[in-house]
């Protein structure tokens, strides 16, 4: 079953890489687009998490000193 799935993935990948005369331009477009959006999403989420964690830590410390 795993071999069948592997073969299917390989077939689909090969088919996409070789589609059309200029098939090579399709993959880079998708990889760049989805990759850039994923990086932006991760960076934005991590930035939010970092500041919120720092804020929580500071607020907890503030409560303890009071």
């Amino acid at each position: 079953m795993i071999l069948g799935a592997k073969q299917m993935i390989l077939n689909v990948t090969m088919a996409l890489f070789t589609t059309g005369e200029y098939g090579e331009f399709i993959w880079p477009s998708y990889i760049i687009s989805i990759g850039a959006l994923a990086v932006l999403a991760v960076l934005s989420w991590r930035r939010k998490q970092t500041f919120e964690t720092r804020l929580k830590t500071l607020e907890t410390q503030g409560k303890k000193t009071k």
Partner: protein, 238 residues
């Protein structure tokens, strides 16, 4: 609208809608990519290269849409002095920058097989490049000033002045003789694209829109937390 200018109310609303926008982003991309890559026909003229349109068009539409959002938020900040509006515009700028960059890159990857060149200085491409510089200028203005209020005011003016470029982008293909094809989706007589191609395009546009909403909320929440931290540090140093 004034009710949502309160950061606490915004946080409540944001936390309620975030799981939905995140889920719809994943679902939109899943369905959109499936239709774009596996369940849509090649174009009779463009062949398989038409699939690049499914990532190019949503990026281009969002690049313009995000700038309009920034201009509206900036106007709200200037008129009603809502700091949250300025922060919303600030948070949207990097997302708009990425969308514009993607529109230019994927457009040139499509242009090479279709036009025989990656780039031409035609009105549509040049006006989108100007939009990229406007985003860069807006972000640079925020970074250049230590005083947040001054930075918000100056960058809001730039966002409002720069919005004149949006109709130029939209109508550039009608006003000038360009290599870029005229509007085929957002036009008075309705879309001229076949439904088999309109479905993946619509799904991808929806996914990009939900992606923008999700990331905008994350960035805005980050900005608010950063502001609170800075306020605490300022009070402690007094």
């Amino acid at each position: 609208m004034h009710r949502f200018a309160n950061p606490a109310r915004f946080q409540t609303l944001a936390n309620a809608i975030l799981p939905w926008t995140f889920g719809l982003t994943i679902l939109g991309f899943g369905l959109g990519l499936y239709y774009a890559l596996f369940n849509s026909p090649p174009d009779y003229q463009q062949g398989e290269s038409v699939r690049i349109m499914y990532v190019h068009v949503p990026a281009a539409l969002m690049a313009e849409g995000v700038y309009v959002f920034m201009a509206v938020a900036s106007a709200i900040f200037i008129i009603w002095k809502h700091p949250l509006a300025a922060l919303a515009a600030k948070s949207a700028a990097p997302i708009g920058l990425v969308f514009t960059g993607l529109a230019l890159i994927t457009g040139s990857l499509w242009g090479k097989p279709m036009w025989g060149t990656f780039w031409v200085w035609d009105a549509r491409l040049t006006s989108v490049l100007v939009l990229l510089f406007l985003y860069l200028g807006y972000i640079a203005l925020w970074q250049a000033m230590d005083d947040a209020t001054k930075a918000a005011k100056t960058s809001s003016i730039l966002a409002l002045v720069g919005v004149v470029n949006i109709p130029i982008i939209k109508f550039s293909v009608e006003w000038w003789n360009t290599l870029h094809q005229p509007a085929s989706i957002v036009r008075l007589g309705g879309p001229t694209i076949d439904s088999s191609m309109l479905t993946p395009l619509f799904l991808m546009i929806t996914a990009y829109a939900f992606f923008f909403t999700t990331v905008l909320i994350w960035r805005l929440q980050g900005e608010l937390a950063q502001r609170k931290l800075e306020k605490i540090f300022r009070e402690q140093s007094k």
